[in-house]
C-alpha cells in the first residue's frame, strides 16, 4: 500500500470515553496516528475560554486552529481512513446508525447532564446533591427498563437484516462501527452508573458483534 503523507493530528478531550471515544476508535481502526490529548476537568475552564465554541472534543490538524464537533471529526477520520463509503446509499445507511448512536448517547447521558447543569433542565442551580442523585437514580431506572433496551433492540434488528453480519453496515468496518462500539463499551464497562453491563447480552447478535469487534487486533491492542 502507498504510504500517504498525513498531517499531524491531535485530538483533545476529557480523560473519559464520552463523545471522544468513537473518534479515538476511528483513528485506531483507520490506522492513523494521533496524539490522544486528555485534559482534566480542572484544566477545562481555562481551555474553554480559549476554545472556538466552548466545547471539546477538538481536532488540531498540523497545529492549525482546532475544529470542533465529534461527529464532524469522526467523519473526517472516516474519509481519510477508508471507513466512510462515498456511495450515497451506502453512506446513508452508515449515517443512520451514526445518528441513532448519537440519540442513544444523549438518552443515556441525560442523568449525567442534569447533574452537571441542573438549571438547564429547570432545576434550581443550588439544588441539593441528594436531590440530584435521587433524580438521577429515578431516570436511570427508566433508562434501564425502557430506553437502553429499545436502542439495543434497534442495533440488534439492524444486524438481523444480514444472515451473517460482519459489521453493522456492510462487510467492512465503517464509522458506524466506531460509534456503536463506543456506546456498547459504555454499557458493557459500566461507564453509566446504575446501568448493568449485562444489558447487551440480552441481544445475541449484538453480543456476538461486540465480541467480534473487540477481537480486531487494533481494537484489542487499544483496550489492552
Amino acid at each position: 500500500t502507498m504510504q500517504r503523507i498525513l498531517p499531524k493530528f491531535k485530538l483533545t478531550y476529557f480523560n473519559f470515553p464520552g463523545r471522544g471515544e468513537k473518534v479515538r476508535i476511528a483513528f485506531k481502526m483507520a490506522g492513523i496516528e494521533f496524539e490522544d490529548e486528555r485534559i482534566e476537568f480542572s484544566q477545562w475552564p481555562e481551555m474553554k475560554a480559549k476554545s472556538p465554541f466552548a466545547q471539546v472534543p477538538l481536532l488540531t490538524i498540523d497545529g492549525m486552529p482546532p475544529v470542533a464537533q465529534s461527529a464532524a471529526i469522526l467523519r473526517y477520520v472516516g474519509r481519510l481512513g477508508n471507513l466512510y463509503p462515498s456511495d450515497p446509499e451506502k453512506a446513508l445507511q452508515v449515517d443512520e446508525i451514526v445518528g441513532l448512536e448519537e440519540d442513544f448517547f444523549q438518552a443515556r447521558s441525560l442523568p449525567f447532564f442534569i447533574g452537571r447543569n441542573p438549571r438547564a433542565y429547570g432545576h434550581p442551580a443550588d439544588i441539593p446533591n441528594q436531590d440530584i442523585q435521587a433524580i438521577q437514580a429515578n431516570l436511570r431506572s427508566t433508562l434501564v427498563a425502557e430506553d437502553i433496551p429499545r436502542f439495543l433492540g434497534y442495533f440488534e434488528a439492524k444486524l438481523a437484516q444480514s444472515e451473517r453480519p460482519a459489521f453493522i453496515v456492510g462487510d467492512t468496518p465503517t464509522v458506524a462501527d466506531c460509534a456503536l462500539l463506543a456506546s456498547l463499551r459504555a454499557v458493557k464497562t459500566g461507564t453509566s452508573p446504575g446501568v448493568p453491563p449485562t444489558l447487551v447480552d440480552a441481544h445475541p447478535r449484538l453480543a456476538a458483534y461486540y465480541a467480534r469487534v473487540m477481537e480486531l487486533p487494533v481494537i484489542r491492542a487499544y483496550y489492552a
Binding site: 449515517d95 441513532l100 433542565y121 431516570l139
Partner: protein, 238 residues
C-alpha cells in the same frame, strides 16, 4: 468586491432521467424536516413532501424503523430515518456536500453546531410536555410547567442562542463568500437557514423573533438564501 456581492445562486439542474423517486415523510410543520425540504429545493431535486397529521402518528409510529420521523423512502424502498443521514444523502446526490475531506469537515462542523443549538432548546419543550423526563414530577401543574418553560426560554434568549448565532456570524466573516463553506450553498447553509427561519417564526414562545437581526452577515445570508428561486417559490406558496 467579491465578498460584498457574492455571485447569486440560481439553483442546480438535476439530471431528471437518472434520478430515483424520493418521498420525505414528516409532520406538517418545519421541525427537523425543514432543512431537508430546503436542501431538496436548493439542490433542484424533486421529492414528494409527505406531511402526516398528529392524529395519524400513533398508528404510523410502530410501523417506522425507530419510532421517529423524518423518514426518506428511495424508489419506494424501506424508509431510512435520522435527519442528519437524510441531509447528507441529499447533499451527496445534489452536489451540496463536498467530497473533499477538509471541506466536508467544515460543513459537518457547522451542522454539528446547529444540532447543539437545537438540542439546547429541547428541555424547554420537554418541560411542558413530559416534565418527568427531566426529573420533575409527572403531575407538575400546568402553571408551574409554563413558569419553568418561560425561565428556560429566557435563558436561551439571553445566552445559548446569541452565542451560537455569534459562531455562525463569525464563520460567515471567515469565509467571506456569503456562504458557510466555499463559494456556493452546501447542506450547512440549508441547516442554518432552517434555524434562522425557526427563530424568526415565533415558533418558540418566549424567544424574540429578532435575535438574528443584530447579525449583519447572517441577515444578508438569510436574504440571499431566500432569494434562491426554488426557495422563493416554495415559501411564497405557503
Amino acid at each position: 468586491h467579491a465578498a460584498e456581492h457574492p455571485p447569486k445562486f440560481e439553483g442546480t439542474e438535476s439530471e431528471k432521467t437518472a434520478m430515483p423517486t424520493y418521498k420525505l415523510t414528516y409532520f406538517n410543520f418545519a421541525g427537523a424536516a425543514e432543512k431537508l425540504r430546503i436542501a431538496f429545493k436548493v439542490g433542484g431535486v424533486e421529492f414528494e413532501d409527505e406531511r402526516i397529521e398528529f392524529s395519524a402518528w400513533p398508528e404510523l409510529k410502530p410501523k417506522t424503523p425507530y419510532g421517529q420521523m423524518p423518514l426518506l423512502s428511495i424508489d419506494g424502498k424501506a424508509p431510512v430515518a435520522q435527519s442528519g443521514a437524510i441531509l447528507r444523502y441529499i447533499g451527496r446526490i445534489a452536489d451540496l456536500y463536498p467530497s473533499d475531506a477538509d471541506k466536508a469537515l467544515e460543513v459537518d462542523e457547522v451542522i454539528g453546531l446547529d444540532e447543539d443549538l437545537m438540542r439546547s432548546m429541547g428541555p424547554s419543550f420537554t418541560i411542558a410536555r413530559a416534565p418527568q423526563a427531566l426529573g420533575h414530577a409527572a403531575d407538575l401543574p400546568e402553571e408551574d410547567r409554563k413558569a419553568l418553560q418561560v425561565k428556560l426560554r429566557a435563558a436561551l434568549a439571553a445566552d445559548e442562542i446569541p452565542r451560537f448565532l455569534g459562531y455562525f456570524e463569525a464563520k460567515l466573516a471567515k469565509t467571506g463568500t456569503g456562504y458557510f463553506v466555499g463559494t456556493k450553498p452546501t447542506i450547512a447553509d440549508c441547516v442554518v437557514l432552517a434555524t434562522l427561519r425557526a427563530l424568526k417564526s415565533g415558533w418558540l414562545d418566549g424567544i424574540p423573533t429578532t435575535l438574528a437581526d443584530s447579525k449583519p452577515l447572517l441577515s444578508a445570508f438569510y436574504e440571499r438564501m431566500m432569494a434562491i428561486p426554488a426557495l422563493k417559490e416554495y415559501y411564497a406558496a405557503k
